[in-house]
Symmetry: C2
Subunit: 394 residues, 2 copies
């Protein structure tokens, strides 16, 4: 057994989250794509079957009350809340991330008020955020200005209405400094909107602690909610009464069954709802969140950093020098829960990795992306992934 | 056996859709709320289990390609198309009805062009359509003008940008004249948007034939897709290139995996997509659509009218005169697939009906709403429902 294999064994034996792996459906594949689609939590199939066969099949319409369907968006929001450092009553689940980016950004611009005519958006963002920010700007008569996250403090001015940032960059895995950027946005009198897709469930976010104004995130990456499971919207408690949604569907009405012609928004997180929630996907997510029972996000973060540290160590050992270049920051303070390696023939390399049982993600044109989900990835997985990569590139 | 019970037996024996009932999970309850939540098609639980356990659990990320997840929105749209009289390539499934109303109406206003500053909306609409129309008007700088559907022809002018109408009124069950209203809207140079929630799957719509411009609809009523299953958007082929979505998410991009900073819309129905589709709900819907195999929508319509005719006949016989008043038009040309009865103590009456195994819907303040899904409601059900209602009101 090689030194690194021995080290992996040692790290695995000291892993306090190791038992969590049994709560997922996994096989012999090393699955390092949980930051694209989280693995299936073992509790989900049974729950979904109950939702379909009993709640829908037998109770039918009665389930909107009796099975808690109607209140699922805010109930599940409260389950996500502690994972992102939010007190209850501020998160609502529903719609896609893209739709929530639109809600959040238009809401932010309206909170900022008429005098501010500029929206700043992370120039390196996952594209959909930029596209929706463009639409939000167009439809609110603001100007969209893409800037690098590091340039945000300098770009802020009394013209800035809202700033849309990613907590972790989807491509490089860089973790941006949410506390200081949020403080800078606030100091400029602007409204902050954070996209947590690549951080929620992988590291502490501290929404309340750091005074974030609005946030959105998906639930199918580190939260393992399943393919296309609904996203969520966070509106800070103190701003909820000023949140003026561009998608004021009947689910966000103060009296949704009053069937009133006039729109009166509900108070609280419910104001972020739109139409009828997709119950199957939503309740699958609810079951998926059971795996967080007894898990502290700090422990997850500690293991995540150990995993990525160890992966970088193994890559340095196994992969011929110069063959790959890490785009992921070496400093822990700047690293999410993934490692992105630039590699000239990344597409072909990932194809071979998958063929050999190591599943990561290929990001055009030349990036190998490996996501490390601390709840089910172990150190032996990490060693094997790097070793196979080394064999392919050797 | 009473005369009406005998007649029910006779009608059931001549029912060419009678076999379809076996394709649904039903029990001894008379379920007349399929226009709120359709019953569970028997094929769904097994399909959902496969999607969860094998496609997600085993194939994981590979399913986006290998299990056809990525193309599900347009593939399932093409399954719905023949039911609403649309050729393939014009319908895409995803998001809630409310979100699609926003997409469709903003898209319609943009197609209409700058010179037209008014949006007409059905004043009797299901509220969410009105709320979203209000937001669409506000965000495009147009004026929203609620009018009764019958007044639309007079209200149209060269100021009219778009008109949002319901094919069937959710409360009264009135069927509006889609062909003539669409023609009037077109003649005025405006863009038509139809909400098909209460007609799709219950009667012929003829989107292509009648030259409808845009349409939206839900899939959990007569299409039996399950609680909160995704809605759909129809954009007439000839208008697709001019459809300019207010929610230009990455799924609507010409090159979604190009991760390009600039937005270039896809051609075709795909342009109506937004974010990552909720696969569990979407593939449950796909399985639910299997029940339409070999069913003509004309046969469904014929049975629907027989069912509502017979229900009205039974109510007239069993319910003391003056105790209820039908809000649903007597003329077939004006009737959807439901019967709405005004009844002073409707809430309490519906509670008793449900207790006695007849499930309908109570619409505040005073409406008993009974939906008739021709694929699984029989004439004996109808007779029993009216008889129990008569006993309660007797």
């Amino acid at each position: 057994m090689s030194d690194l294999a021995l080290k992996a064994r040692e790290l695995d034996s000291g892993d306090q989250l190791a038992d969590k792996r049994a709560e997922f459906v996994l096989d012999e594949v090393v699955y390092l794509d949980g930051n694209s689609l989280g693995a299936l939590p073992a509790a989900v199939p049974g729950r979904v079957e109950d939702v379909v066969r009993r709640q829908w099949g037998e109770l039918r319409i009665r389930s909107w009350d009796e099975s808690g369907w109607w209140t699922a968006p805010e109930r599940i929001g409260d389950r996500i809340a502690p994972l992102v450092g939010a007190a209850a009553g501020q998160i609502v689940v529903g719609d896609s991330t893209s739709v929530n980016v639109f809600k959040a950004l238009v809401g932010a611009v309206r909170i900022a008020g008429e005098g501010r005519d500029e929206i700043l958006v992370d120039a390196t963002t996952f594209p959909t955020d930029g596209y929706l920010a463009g639409s939000a700007a167009r439809m609110t008569g603001r100007t969209l200005r893409p800037v690098l996250p590091a340039q945000v403090p300098d770009a802020l001015s009394d013209r800035t209405a809202a700033v849309l940032l990613n907590h972790v960059d989807y491509r490089t895995g860089r973790l941006h400094d949410l506390p200081s950027l949020t403080a800078a946005v606030r100091a400029a009198g602007a409204v902050s909107v954070w996209d947590l897709c690549h951080s929620a469930g992988a590291l502490p976010v501290g929404l309340d602690e750091h005074g974030v104004d609005l946030a959105v995130g998906c639930t199918y990456k580190y939260l393992n909610g399943g393919p296309g499971s609904p996203a969520y919207l966070y509106v800070r408690g103190g701003l909820q009464d000023r949140f003026d949604s561009p998608l004021p569907g009947w689910n966000s009405h103060a009296e949704p069954f009053g069937m009133r012609g006039d729109y009166e928004p509900a108070t609280g997180a419910v104001r972020g709802r739109v139409g009828t929630p997709d119950i199957l996907s939503m309740l699958a997510l609810e079951a998926a969140l059971d795996v967080w029972e007894g898990v502290s996000i700090e422990a997850v973060r500690a293991k995540s950093l150990s995993l990525t540290d160890f992966f970088l160590e193994c890559v340095a050992e196994y992969v011929p020098e110069g063959r790959v270049e890490s785009l992921t920051p070496a400093r822990h303070e700047e690293r999410g829960s993934q490692v992105a390696l630039r590699c000239s023939d990344a597409g072909e390399v990932m194809r071979q990795l998958v063929e050999r049982g190591v599943v990561g993600d290929f990001r055009r044109p030349d990036v190998l992306r490996f996501g490390f989900t601390p709840l089910y990835v172990g150190f032996a997985d990490v060693e094997r992934a790097a070793r196979v990569l080394g064999e392919i590139l050797g």
